[in-house]
């Protein structure tokens, strides 16, 4: 509680620089196009991109596609995290399972799962389900490995104390293991949400009828750099908003660590 002076002093300088970065970059871009250094056919420029986004929002066009992409992302993320956490718990508690499965899971985590997408389409078709499975496959291994190592790292003394206080297996899971794992899962979600969104969009590049990936892929096929960039900007804004929400949730869930962090 007493050590708060450093962060406060540092944060006094940050906002000015932070606020300037984006306008300077965008201004330079816009200026370079106006002067003729950059060819708008390939690069477009901030003002028309913004105009496109405004038009998309006004007509409701973008909302439909953002929601479609978000639905796939969140469904896959939720499925991957839940399956990963459950499997991670099983692995954390069952030594023999850990010994048999962990080497394979670690190898699977290292493999770029996106290359399996054609196979998923083959099995599940071009509908959202194949993309949800793709997203889940991206998220499930990090979630599993994080849960497993979080369980391994729970303080033995705390477990012994809880047992002496009367906790049996369910009580231990509820009062000790779940809270210990929750914080790690939050950061896993924050790290993997980027993968998840990327997985959903790459999936939408091929054969989807809705979704921001489809919007971008279609614009690209029509050589419209402006719309490709507008779609990218929308996705950036969406990711930023999601991260903001996740950070707030993580902050609320980890109140008990506040004074340690400071």
């Amino acid at each position: 509680m007493a050590g708060g002076s450093y962060p406060v002093a540092a944060s006094r300088y940050r906002p000015a620089a932070k606020v300037l970065v984006l306008p300077v970059l965008l201004g330079a871009w816009e200026g370079a196009v106006r002067v003729g250094v950059l060819d708008p056919f390939y690069t477009s420029s901030p003002v028309p991109i913004l105009a496109t986004i405004v038009r998309w929002i006004a007509t409701g066009y973008v909302l439909e596609h953002v929601l479609a992409t978000l639905a796939v992302t969140l469904a896959g993320l939720a499925g991957g995290v839940v399956i990963g956490a459950v499997a991670g718990f099983a692995l954390g508690f069952l030594r023999w399972l850990e010994r048999v499965a962990l080497p394979f899971l670690t190898a699977a985590n290292a493999m770029p799962r996106i290359i399996l997408y054609p196979l998923m389409v083959l099995w599940l078709g071009f509908g959202p389900l194949s993309r949800i499975v793709l997203v889940a496959s991206l998220v499930v291994f990090p979630a599993l490995l994080t849960t497993h190592s979080a369980i391994r790292q729970v303080d033995v003394e705390i477990v012994r104390n809880a047992r002496v206080l009367g906790a049996r297996r369910l009580g231990l899971i509820r009062h000790v293991y779940l809270p210990a794992v929750a914080l790690w899962l939050f950061s896993t979600i924050r790290v993997t949400i980027g993968f998840a969104l990327a997985g959903a969009i790459v999936g939408e590049y091929v054969g989807a009828v809705r979704g921001m990936g489809m919007v971008i892929a279609f614009a690209q096929s029509m050589f419209r750099a402006r719309e490709v960039l507008a779609g990218t900007a929308v996705l950036l804004a969406v990711i930023w908003l999601i991260d903001l929400g996740l950070r707030a949730a993580e902050h609320a869930a980890a109140r008990w660590r506040l004074s340690e962090v400071m």
């Binding site: 003394e157 705390i158 206080l165 809270p179 008990w256 004074s259």
Partner: protein, 276 residues
Amino acid sequence: MSTSIAPVESRAAVRPPAVQAVGLAKWFDGAEGTVAAIENLTFTVHPGEFLCLVGPSGCGKSTLLNIIAGLLPASGGQLQIYGESGGRVRPDCIGYVFQRDALLPWKTALQNVMLPLLLRGVPMAQSRAEALNWVQKVGLAGFEHHYPSQLSGGMRKRISLAMTMVYRPSIILMDEPFAALDVQTRHLMENELLALWAEAGSTILFVTHDLEEAVALADRIIVLTAAPARIRADYQVPLDRPRDVAEIRTSGAFVDIYRRIWRDLREEVAASRGRR
């Protein structure tokens, strides 16, 4: 814990010893063969007694508490808790305060104290009321909603104590609970422990390597040998109660009993040093 209503005297007469160990042994299988931690330990702890176990560090005192708590199985001999044997944890009658406080860092002080009650199926409102009462009793009113990371070492120790006392265990095991505290806090806590013990009437098995602390607190002191732990000596502490642990240290009777026990303990400490 008994629900039958009987006159105090007759119940005391019928009541079996709180803890009875006969020929208790514990060995560990390590890379360099089998190591004996406890060997042929026979002793009885009476209900309501404050018993201190002293011995050189590493002599197996903590192992003994872990066996009594049911956290470790014994390798040989018999152990009875209120006349019942079996190696399982008996959470309702045994409390255990560890050297390092093992509070749940994601729960507030109050939620920590509520935990043993909730685990026993006590309704939320009642758990909360009883836990609040104990948080106040250990002097932490106003800190109910602080997390362990926001509390000092002494405060966390008080919460561990409340966490144990709240479910009224009839036997409380304490493994050097105050070792990490500064001397003033420590004396304060020792006096509070004595007051709580007098009020609750529980049996306490208190492990320490600090003989002064043992004499100040205990009714009876068992000196254990250097590893493997055997019983070296068994002393009654003839000091009046209530005691003030800081003041009693200067009394003649205190110094007298301290010297007698120290003669035994010194040799065991020397033996444990020689072995290393």
